[in-house]
């Protein structure tokens, strides 16, 4: 990771900012996500599930089942009343999770100790964990408190699709760096090359390539997607690229992996869990069909 260490220079008053030097030191250590991509540079599979779905307390069980059956990254969705970037399947799972009583506070309670489940090593969550949510609940919780609590329970990164680049640069990015959390930005086929470069410079962990400009869960034309992913690959970005939106089975996963470092599956897994809420058997069947 190459980060320009501007804060090591004295500021206008001639002081050296020790706190940001410390955080730069911390971020020079590799995060769990970066370590994963160092070990595994292709076919990385990130599975999304809404926290608190299908049951309030199934969150950890879902994570354990996903990890056991081959998911490389787990992305937990924080349910929200107004999920603008989500399609009907994830919307519905979010509404159920909210009805079940899920909140950021409850989620952190559930995740506490996930990296260190006493005596039961097999149950310990070791894969990278990302939280995906919308800005409003995070702001109400308190942005810094959210980052601090997320880091404390062992969360590795965040996706907040409605956090704009400008506000990230001026206001929120420094807090994320302070707690050593990766921040994953989205790109789309309509994103200009210049903007992709900018997003790449601000992202850590990976870049989430939306496979077409669509809310989650929609079927898309794959040739178009391939042209776009090829363009991304040719740009030789510093971050790995995972393809999201539209990946649902072995065929779509394999096509995505031809041009990207891996893919993200959300709606298809939620659908499977909805049909059979038993986490282990559903995850086993679902992941086997994709990975075998």
């Amino acid at each position: 990771m190459s980060q320009t260490c501007l804060s090591c220079l004295p500021d206008r008053q001639g002081r050296i900012n020790l706190e940001s030097q410390m955080s730069n030191f911390k971020s020079s250590l590799m995060s769990r996500i970066q370590e994963l991509f160092k070990k595994k540079s292709s076919r990385v599979l990130n599975i999304y599930c809404t926290a608190g779905f299908p049951q309030l307390n199934s969150t950890i069980r879902v994570m354990q089942a996903l990890q056991k059956n081959g998911a490389d990254i787990i992305e937990l969705g924080i349910p929200y009343s107004d999920p603008l970037a989500d399609g009907p399947v994830i919307q519905e799972s979010g509404a159920i999770a909210l009805h079940n009583g899920m909140s950021i506070k409850v989620l952190f309670e559930q995740l506490k100790g996930m990296r260190d489940l006493h005596g039961d090593y097999s149950a310990k969550v070791t894969v990278p964990v990302i939280l995906m949510g919308y800005l409003n609940p995070v702001l109400q919780y308190g942005f810094e408190k959210f980052c601090s609590d997320a880091a404390a329970v062992g969360v590795d990164g965040l996706i907040l699709p409605d956090l704009p680049i400008r506000e990230f640069e001026t206001e929120y990015g420094q807090t994320l760096r302070k707690y050593n959390l990766d921040f994953i930005f989205l790109v789309t086929p309509e994103t200009s090359a210049e903007r992709i470069r900018k997003i790449d410079s601000l992202s850590t962990g990976f870049i989430y390539a939306v496979s077409s400009s669509s809310t989650t869960g929609k079927d898309k034309d794959f040739p178009d997607v391939e042209r776009y992913l090829q363009k991304l690959r040719e740009m030789e970005l510093k971050n790995p690229v995972l393809v999201g939106f539209g990946i649902k089975d072995k065929a779509t996963f394999q096509s995505a992996c031809k041009y990207a470092d891996g893919a993200i599956i959300g709606s298809a897994y939620i659908k499977a869990l909805k049909e059979n809420p038993e986490e282990e058997s559903t995850s086993k069947k679902f992941l086997e069909a994709i990975l075998k």
């Binding site: 929200y80 009343s81 909210l98 409605d162 309509e190």
Partner: protein, 407 residues
């Protein structure tokens, strides 16, 4: 009045337009997912340039005059004035084509959409007035029109649904969440995400990501532009003591206030919907109940739970049944530039009947909230008040008939 001017001095210049990032004070911005970035960016880079081209202004002004029927009259309401002991004028937006102020904005935005080369239009609607105004301009310009409307609103605003359909629009029910305006807005935004190149989203209020709040305020500013010269004809002065308008998202209020925003001698009175009462748990009084948050692409005041989930508001008026408020209004509230009042469902109904009997004008339920606000102002004979009568009451007849049966 002098105190107000002094206290507001530090905010001079922050009301009429946002900063380059779309902020009015601490409110505004463009909190959108990357999928919407190209559309919103295109709009941001072009809206001012297009809006102030001579040809555009001529087309816009001509349509407002010959098609909408502007200028809308500024009517001196003698009997209402007598009741309140002050000079009260009604800005008759209810007399516009399609029956409300909403058409000022849709005319502007459809011309803009044409310039941007779009041929499909989407919109959200609450009471159906914005949906009708959008369907109308789409028929006029031969553009495909899709309107999202909460399932609950479809039931309570049947005449407007019929009008939209007759005008050729497809009305799609929003079935998620509270099934009202907020959810219709979510669905419209999702549609825009899925149709990034050929579609323009005509937002109906001064909400949404920058540049929407500023753009809609500018299109609606025709209301106060007219008030200024009309009031001068009536009273010899362009400047009233009070301007009163109802606020849901806040587009008619933004238009009514616009050319007086920086004139701190004028008291700007915004009346929100208290529903069954501000503390009843069934209200839509956002400045009283909301906290800073992000909804529909901008930072503003939002009615929400402690966990940051947006709550389902309540108002008898579908057009005010919204848990947010435009960022300009949040700034008017926070800075103290605006006076924010609220009126309950019952108070609005009472004022609607009062206006009908005093002046022979049946107002929309939304506008009735503005009228109810008059009762809370300590008016004197020296005061000149302009109330924006934002819409007519035809669409609310079933509510009014039910109220008559009760009494």
């Amino acid at each position: 009045m002098i105190n107000r001017t002094i206290a507001l001095a530090k905010y001079k210049g922050t009301f009429e337009q946002p900063d380059i990032f779309g902020y009015y004070g601490t409110f505004g911005g463009a909190y959108i997912p990357e999928m919407l970035h190209p559309n919103v960016e295109e709009l941001k880079n072009n809206y001012l340039k297009i809006m102030y081209e001579e040809g555009f202004q001529k087309a816009f002004r001509d349509l407002l005059k010959d098609y909408v029927g502007r200028p809308s009259p500024l009517y001196y309401a003698a009997r209402l004035s007598e009741k309140h002991g002050a000079k009260i004028f009604l800005k008759r937006e209810d007399l516009n084509h399609t029956g409300a102020h909403k058409i000022n904005n849709t005319i502007g935005q459809i011309l803009l959409a044409q310039k941007l080369g779009k041929h499909r239009i989407i919109a959200e609607t609450g009471a159906g007035q914005h949906g009708v105004a959008t369907a109308t301009v789409c028929a006029l310009m031969n553009m495909q029109c899709v309107v999202y409307m909460g399932e609950k609103d479809i039931e309570r605003q049947a005449p407007n649904v019929a009008r939209m359909k007759m005008l050729g629009a497809t009305v799609i029910p929003a079935t998620s969440g509270s099934k009202t305006l907020k959810d219709a807005t979510n669905e419209a935004i999702r549609d825009w995400i899925n149709n990034p190149t050929d579609t323009h989203y005509i937002i109906g209020s001064v909400v949404g990501p920058h540049p929407y709040p500023d753009m809609v305020a500018r299109f609606q500013s025709i209301i106060s532009e007219e008030i200024r010269w009309q009031l001068k004809v009536h009273t010899g002065s362009e400047v009233p003591t009070h301007l009163v308008a109802c606020v849901g998202g806040g587009s008619n209020a933004a238009g009514t206030f616009y050319h007086y925003l920086e004139d701190f001698t004028v008291q700007l009175v915004a009346v929100e919907a208290a529903g069954c009462g501000v503390q009843s748990g069934r209200s839509a009084a956002t400045t009283q109940l909301g906290k800073p948050g992000v909804l529909h692409g901008s930072k503003s005041l939002v009615m929400q739970t402690e966990d940051g989930q947006v709550v389902e508001p309540h108002s008898i008026s579908a057009g005010l049944d919204y848990p947010g408020i435009g960022p300009l209004h949040a700034h008017l509230f926070e800075s103290g530039r605006g006076t924010f009042l609220s009126a309950t469902d019952a108070e609005a109904l009472e004022s609607a009947f009062e206006l009908t009997r005093l002046e022979g004008i049946i107002p929309a339920l939304e506008s009735a909230h503005a009228l109810a606000g008059l009762n809370q102002l300590k008016l004197t004979a020296k005061d000149t008040v302009v109330v924006c009568l934002s819409g007519r009451g035809d669409k609310d007849m079933s509510t009014y008939m039910a109220a008559m049966e009760k009494t």
